[in-house]
């Protein structure tokens, strides 16, 4: 088929299209995250002392840093779906934010926590459960971001997929932060990072395979 024939075919019976809107896509992700949080808390799994903990530096650090990271990463992921986007700089920003959040954990460590044995502080048996929960909670977000990515036109799909994974992992960790009973920042840093990295790696591996510009 010649290019002229192709152009004639493409332009005949042309239907109007709904333009992509980043605000609408961001609203969808926000709505899904809010619904997931409401459903999760509605199941009665919120930690019982959450009202007592409200205002404590530890909870502010945990929820605040994860919430900020989730918002920033979601914005970066959605922006990266544009063909003209350059996601690399945004990913560096998200990683810098994550590192800053980890470092911030050192300032909210409860008194006496650092005197315990490292293995006890990390508590791998519980930690794996937490990381798995974060992974599961992030799946709806990563599925939505994957669908939005497929409908858009990222020209660097691997980086967009990685940004989506980081965003979904941060969202999952943010939701899980309301029910996680552990107060040691070292535990949170280790296992939340494991959960987020697992989601990011899975998204980076899986999403580009389902995408074709």
């Amino acid at each position: 088929m010649s290019s002229e024939s192709l152009i004639a075919n493409l332009s005949s019976d042309l239907a109007p299209v709904q333009r992509r809107s980043m605000v609408r896509e961001g609203g969808l992700v926000l709505a899904l995250g809010a619904a997931e949080l409401a459903l999760f808390l509605g199941l009665g799994v919120m930690r019982p002392d959450i009202s007592h903990m409200a205002g404590s530096p530890y909870l502010m650090w945990r929820v605040g840093s994860l919430g900020l990271l989730a918002v920033v990463a979601c914005v970066l992921a959605i922006r990266s779906f544009s063909p003209t986007a350059r996601p690399r700089r945004g990913l560096v920003l998200a990683c810098a934010l994550a590192v800053a959040a980890i470092v911030g954990g050192a300032f909210v460590t409860p008194d006496g926590a650092s005197e315990r044995a490292l293995f006890d502080r990390i508590d791998p048996s519980s930690g794996i459960l937490c990381a798995t929960s974060i992974f599961v909670l992030s799946l709806p977000i990563v599925a939505l971001l994957g669908a939005l990515m497929r409908r858009a036109a990222p020209t660097q799909p691997r980086l967009s997929a990685l940004a989506s994974g980081i965003a979904a992992g941060a969202c999952g960790a943010f939701v899980f932060a309301f029910c996680c009973p552990f107060n040691d920042p070292l535990y949170v840093v280790v296992w939340y990072t494991v959960g987020c990295v697992a989601v990011a790696a899975a998204a980076r591996w899986r999403l580009p395979r389902r995408f074709r510009l």
Binding site: S3, L6, I7, A8, S11, P16, R19, P83, T84, A153
Partner: protein, 187 residues
């Protein structure tokens, strides 16, 4: 289209392209046809500089299809050039990857031909030397010494007497010898 003929549409895409795409997003087939036609010309030039000639049409059509499938992702508030360039670059990379995956057939031994370099160079040098002669001398030498006609046959073709043809050949060759001897790069 004069402004769209350069390399980078980000700088040179006409403002009209944005409005044409906006109209296309609203379902205007005529605007879309015109836009794709102009883009097709630009894409052809873009890929001609980057791909083997046999792959240019494929790349252009693949890019047009991608533009069609993703036309809803264009934001009319921004220039169309960077959007088009990003998609074209992506398709270029795809084509390069497919080129790399394509099996390479070994050429048969009997496809080789003799080296024509010497005759090509000689022909080029002779043409430039003959330009230095009077037309009647150059024509006589070309017919008799290069193309192999007899003096009589050349006489009939040129319309001069046999002796005049001989004279032109003689004087022409003498002048060529003198030119060659004066030339500094003759070994």
């Amino acid at each position: 289209m004069a402004t769209a003929s350069r390399e980078r549409p980000s700088r040179t895409a006409p403002d009209g392209w944005s409005s044409l795409m906006e109209a296309a997003q609203n379902g205007h087939g005529g605007a879309y046809r015109r836009l794709l036609g102009e883009m097709s010309e630009w894409l052809t030039r873009y890929f001609q500089r980057r791909l083997p000639p046999g792959d240019v049409d494929d790349a252009v059509q693949e890019t047009l299809l991608a533009i069609h499938r993703r036309r809803h992702t264009y934001d009319p508030q921004h220039p169309l050039g960077p959007w088009l360039a990003a998609i074209a670059k992506n398709k270029w990379v795809d084509q390069l990857r497919s080129l790399a995956r394509r099996p390479v057939d070994e050429l048969p031994d009997d496809i080789a031909v003799g080296d024509h370099e010497a005759s090509v160079v000689s022909s080029s040098v002779l043409a430039s030397l003959l330009d230095e002669l009077r037309p009647a001398q150059a024509q006589a030498i070309l017919l008799v010494k290069v193309q192999g006609y007899s003096v009589e046959e050349a006489s009939g073709k040129i319309g001069l007497s046999v002796s005049a043809v001989k004279m032109n050949i003689h004087r022409g060759l003498a002048r060529l010898t003198a030119i060659i001897e004066k030339s500094p790069d003759v070994e």
